[in-house]
Symmetry: C2
Subunit: 233 residues, 2 copies
DNA sequence: AACCCATTAGGTACGACTAATTCAAGAGTG
DNA sequence: CACTCTTGAATTAGTCGTACCTAATGGGTT
């Protein structure tokens, strides 16, 4: 899933990427292409392709006579799904989870408002279906199935917004929600209030009530902020 | 600026990237590495590195025995600054500008609210300075200087939010604002109301009034939406 | 329909050469 | 003597071309 692992250069990236994003190489660290190639036991061609990809993510910068230098974190392409996955898989996970949750709190309410204006009949139906699925699995430790519907719900909202930038955050939200279920405190059944909110969002979108859809979604994301103690109770 | 043009593979990307993002090659189109290498008069190694970068942006997919196929627009990494620049430079510019402006309307108000909570004294001072700079250049066709301070203002807000995801949108906002001044209808002096709003945002942040900073910024971004006729007057 | 094999285009490896940049030694200058 | 400028040697990425490997594909055979 996280590993597209296609080809040798993919394998190299699966090791180097997480290492860099985890801060194993401090900003300014210098790597040499040849040494890396030797270390990973691949040809220089393969290593060069891997470096090019890291370079396109602004994780490193390649300069003649110097080598491959690690760029400061502030310059990374933190919206690259691959970078997000690497960071979520490493020591930076908590921090990354917080950043993304704050991003969600900004984007999703607006996306829901737009979805209320632009959602197709089919998307409205999907939304209702997802909400019902959440209700059906909200009790009896069915977290797995609950999560599936939760992820689907938010994905539909983002897609229905009609904004491509919002739509592409579907994967990010999916990883945040999944991460919360897997690694965070969520042994108990989900909060009934949250489930209800999702149902009401689906209703608001179906009723073309943008303001209500936005406000209700804001309540959902605010809840997510509270879970991570980003907001005081 | 848009061209980092470092090396031959950079030159290839500067041509291929815009072509693909402009839709010159419809989704599913098949390119051959060898043909491309011949067309651009570079070696296969260089072309392969370029393809790897395009692949990491999810613009294309490379498969054996098939070739390099162009992926559908919905799968592109639309947050990649390079992709954004390519699209802003091509036929997709209006659409991209709208998407980004909607994104701004979601992110910037929340960022401003956070900035009011987390901005350092220095950042508060910078903000005030930028706002004053906007006022000083808001009359007499000083659009150039006005733009500089406008861009700086929004950049400081995004940075002061303390959220890395927000901070990285500084470049995007900069390009949107620059684009508006250069290509859109903005021969006249900026709207005095907008200038005043910026001053008041700076005040709100300085006063640690998160709610007010958020609301005022929402008015700014709403104004931007109106300019592009995304919202009805 | 199931299977096999030739074709094809990308994947990998290696070696030679190029070019840019750094760094240091040495000449020149105040 | 200290400082600056020039120059050249060392170093590392950049480019190229070739050869060979691998795996999908598509057609032909059983």
């Amino acid at each position: 899933m996280s590993t597209r692992g296609r080809g040798l250069h993919g394998h190299v990236l699966d090791t180097l990427g997480p290492a860099i994003t985890a801060g194993e190489y401090p900003p300014g660290s210098v790597l040499r292409t040849d040494e890396l190639a030797q270390h990973f036991e691949v040809s220089r061609s393969v290593m060069r392709e891997a470096v090019r990809v890291l370079e396109s993510m602004h994780l490193v910068e390649s300069r003649r006579r110097v080598g491959v230098t690690v760029r400061p974190k502030a310059e990374w392409n933190v919206y690259d799904p691959q970078v997000i996955r690497w960071r979520l898989a490493g020591a930076d996970r908590p921090h990354q989870l917080r950043s993304l949750t704050v991003l969600r709190s900004a984007v999703e309410p607006v996306a829901a408002g737009l979805a209320a204006q632009h959602a197709t009949a089919e998307q409205c139906a999907e939304l209702t279906e997802c909400a019902l699925g959440m209700v059906a699995n909200s009790r009896g430790h069915r977290l797995e199935q609950y999560l599936v519907h939760d992820v689907a719900f938010h994905r539909v909202v983002l897609n229905a917004s009609g904004n491509e930038m919002f739509a592409r955050l579907g994967d990010v939200v999916a990883e945040v929600l999944t991460g919360r279920t897997q690694h965070e405190v969520m042994f108990e059944d989900p909060d009934p209030a949250a489930v209800t909110l999702h149902v009401r969002v689906a209703e608001a979108v179906r009723a073309r009530d943008a303001a209500r859809a936005e406000e209700l979604t804001r309540q959902i994301t605010t809840g997510a902020l509270h879970e991570l103690d980003i907001l005081a109770p």
